[in-house]
C-alpha cells in the first residue's frame, strides 16, 4: 500500500516541488501551507509521515512537531528547512530527522524512505 506524506511549507513553489518529487517516489502527498492547517490535516487524515518547514507565519515547524509528538508518540516527523542551526538545538527534539533544504533531493528521499520502511 502506498504511504501517505503531509508536506508543510508556506512557499507554494517549494510545496509543488516536494509534491512532484515525492509523488515520483511512489508516495501519496498532501500539502498544508501553515502550522495550524498542518495540525488539523494531520490529525484528521492517516499520515505515515509529516515533512515540516521551520519558518512559517503563525506556528512554526518546531512547535508543530512538538504538538504532534505530544499527541502521537510514534508519529514520524521530518524537519526540512533552510536553516541548519536548529539541528542540534533542543527545540528540534521532537523531530525524527532533520534535513537542510538543498537542490539535491537525494538526502531527503533517503531519509523519507528510511523513516517509512
Amino acid at each position: 500500500m502506498k504511504k501517505k506524506i503531509l508536506v508543510v511549507d508556506d512557499e507554494p513553489n517549494i510545496r509543488d516541488l516536494l509534491r512532484e518529487e515525492l509523488e515520483e517516489e511512489g508516495y501519496i502527498v498532501d500539502v498544508a501551507e501553515n502550522g495550524e492547517k498542518a495540525i488539523e490535516k494531520y490529525f484528521s487524515g492517516d499520515y505515515d509521515l509529516i515533512v515540516l518547514d521551520i519558518e512559517m507565519p503563525g506556528m512554526n515547524g518546531l512547535e508543530v512537531a512538538g504538538l504532534i509528538r505530544e499527541r502521537k508518540k510514534d508519529a514520524k516527523i521530518l524537519i526540512l528547512t533552510a536553516y541548519s542551526h536548529y539541528k542540534y538545538d533542543l527545540s528540534s527534539w521532537a523531530a525524527d530527522e532533520y534535513v537542510v533544504k538543498s537542490i539535491d533531493f537525494t538526502e531527503l528521499k533517503e531519509k523519507v524512505k528510511k523513516l517509512l520502511s
Binding site: 508556506d10 512557499e11 513553489n13 517549494i14 509543488d16 516541488l17 512532484e20 518529487e21 519558518e55 512559517m56 507565519p57 533552510a82 536553516y83 542551526h85 533542543l90 527534539w93 533544504k101 538543498s102 537542490i103 539535491d104 533531493f105
Partner: protein, 758 residues
Amino acid sequence: MEKLEKLVKELISLDGVRLLDGHPQGPSKLYRVGRYSFAVEKQDAILDALFVACERLAMLEAINSFLEFSLVSSEREKILKKFSENLEEALGVDGLLVRIKGESAFSKEGTFEGELQAFFSYEASLEEGFSCEYFFPQKVELDQRRVDFLIHAARVLKCVLEKLKGKEEIQKLKHSQEEQMRLIEFQREYIKRMRNIYYMSQAMRSVYSLNSLYSIILLSLVSDRGFDFDRAALFTREKERHVLVGVAWLGGEDEKEQEEFKRRLKSKSLRYTDAVQFLREEAVTLPLENTLTERIKGRLIYYRGHPIFERVVLRKSVLRISKRVIKTLGYDAEDILNVIDAEEFAVFPLVGRWDTLGVVIVDNKFTGRELTDLDLDSLKLFSESAGLALEGVINYEELKKNALDLQRQRDLVEYLRNFSESILESLDSAVIVLNSEGRIVEWNKKAEELFNNRKEALLGKRFRDLGENFEEISYIAENSLEKLEKISLSFYKFGERYFNLKFTPFRDLKTQRVEGIIITVDDVTEVYKMEEDRRRKEKLSTLGEMAAKVAHEIRNPLTVIGGFVKRMRKHLNDEETLKRYIDIVLDELMRLERIVQDILNFSREKEIAEFSNFDLNELVREVFVLFEGKFLEKRIDVSFNTNNARIEVVGDKVALKQVFINLIQNAIEATGDNGKIIVTTEDLGEKVRVKVWNAGPTIPLEIREKIFLPFFTTKTQGTGLGLAICKKIVEDRHKGRIWVEDVEKGALFVFELPKKPG
C-alpha cells in the same frame, strides 16, 4: 558503654558544639545523647540530624547490650534490673522504674521511694496484650523519639521474658539481636556521613567567593573524605531565562584518568588531619578546567517541562536516575543523558532559603557502586547546606555591589561619619578626601593601590602639587568645591587606565560650613575593555545575523530553481509542464534579485545624494502605478488624500521613491486580500508629513522600537531591511523622522521631511 564515650568525644570536637555539665543555661539549642547534654551555638539542619542519629545510636546500643545480657542470663529479676539500667543510661534520666504485671525493677540501688502514682510515668501497651510501665523520679520530656524507644524496648523485653518460658524462643531472640546489630551498623555509617557533611558545611560557610565554593562543593562530593562519588557536575540556575548553565565537572574522562584523579585526591587528603582544612585549602588549587568541564561549561538546559530538571529545580527533589528510569525517559531527557553517560546517577538541587540556585549531578560511572538510600538521604542534607552557603556567597557579592552603589548615592559625609576607618580602607573604591584648602586629609588603601603611593607621604599635601597627571583632576575638584556642585566623570583616562570619578563637596552638618570634598575613584579599565569588546562583538554578530538571514533567504529560491530545473530535464518533451516550470524559475529569480537589491540599498554608505526639486504627490502617483497590478490582483481598496495639490520638496527622489515602495509593499502584505490602504500627504509649511495606513493588524508596542532595526522582521520572507532602509533614507539622508503611530485600528507609518534640506 565506652562506645558512647567515644561518640561524645567526637561530638565535642565539632566546631560550635559544647558539652554541658549540670543544668543548661543560655539560649543555645540543646541536644541529648544518653546522659550527656550538648549546647550548640547555631541551629543547623546537619547538626540536628547528627544529634538525632547519635541519640538513636545510644538507644540502639542500650537495647543491644540488654539483648546480649539476656542471651546468657536466665534470672528474671536480673534481666529486669539490667533492662531498667540500660534504659536509664540511654535516656539519660536520673533513675527509672520498670513495672510489668506487678513485677518491678529499679535502675538504682535500693528501692523506689514514695508513692508511684506521684511520679512521672509512661505506659507502653503493645497490641499483643503486653504492657510495660515506666516511672521516672523527675519530670522527663518524652518526645516522639523517646516514646518510640520505650515502645520498642517493651517489645524487646516481652521477647526476652517469653524466652525464659521456652527454649524455642531463643532463635527468635538471636535473630532480633542480629537485626539490632544491623541497625547499629547503619546508624554508625549514618553518623559518619552526618559528621562529614557537617565538616563540608563548615568549609562551605567559610568562603566568600563563588569559585572557591563551587570547588568545595565538587571536592566534597568526589573526595574520599566526603561522599567519594566518581564524578560530580555543577550547574547554576538563571531564573529569568529558565535555564541551568553548566559550570564545572569534576572526575575522570575514562577509567585510567579516573584512577589517576582519585589517586591524586587521596594523596592530598592524607596530608590533612582536619577535613575542613583539607576542603578549604585544596579547593583553592583544585583545577576545575578539564576535559569534562569543557563538555558542560556554558551549556544551557531548559528545565521547564524537562522530565528530570523540572522536578529538581522547581520541586526541589533529590532524584536517583537509575538504569530503569533512564529507559523510560527516552528522548525527553536525551540532552542530559548524552552528556552524563553513566548507567545511574543522582541529581539534586542547591536550595537556598527560598529558591533553587543550582543543580548538581553525581555518578559512579567507573566503580559502578550503586547509589543507596543513605546516599540520597545524605545528599538531601548536603544540598540544603550547600544551597545556603551558595546563597550566602551570592548575597555577599550583592551586598558588596550594593554598598558601592549606596556609597555613590547617599550623602557621603553621613557615610564617612558612620563608618569606621577600617571600612574606608576595605572599600573597593579609592576614596580621597580634601579639606577646603585642597589639602589631602584622607587617602585610603585602594587609592594607594591605584595611584601607587603611600598615604603617609601625602597627608597634608595639596592635591594639585602631586604632579602633572593630577592637574586636570585637581582642577575639577577645585571647581566642584567652589560651585558646591557634584561632578561625575565616566571612563576618565588616567595614564593607561580608565576611572569613574565622583566629586562630592561636603559641609559640616551643624555649622553648614564647607569642609571639603570627597573624591571617589573606581578603576573601570576592565569594564571599559569589556564594553569595547562587547561593541566589537555586537557588530560582528549583526554581521553574522545578516549573513545567516541572507543565506536563508537565498537558499529557498535556490532550492526551488535547482529542483525545477532538474525536473525540466525529465520533461523535455512536455511543453506545457516545461512552461509552468520556467514560470516558477523566473518567479524565484526575481525574488533573488530583490534580495540582492535590498542588501545593496542598505549597504550603500553615504552615497552622494542626488537632490532635486520635485512634487511629492507626483511621486506618490508614480509609485501607485507600479503597484496597480498588485492592487487589482488582491482587490485592495487604495485611496490618496492631500491638503495641497502640489507639494514641492528638495530631496533624493530615487531614494524617497524607495521609501514609498517599501512602505506600500509592507502595507499590501499586512492588509492582505480585500484590504485597505490610505496614503496621506500634508503640507505643513516648512516640512511635509506623509502617512501610510493599512487595515491590517495593529503593531504591538513591544516591537515598535525594533521594527526599524536592520534584519528585524516578523515576516517569514524578506531580509528585514525594508524599514531599516526607509529610516536610513528619511532620517540620515533627509534629516527627517519616521515612526509608527499609535492607532486603534490597523497600522500607521508616518514620516516627516523638511521641504528643503538644512
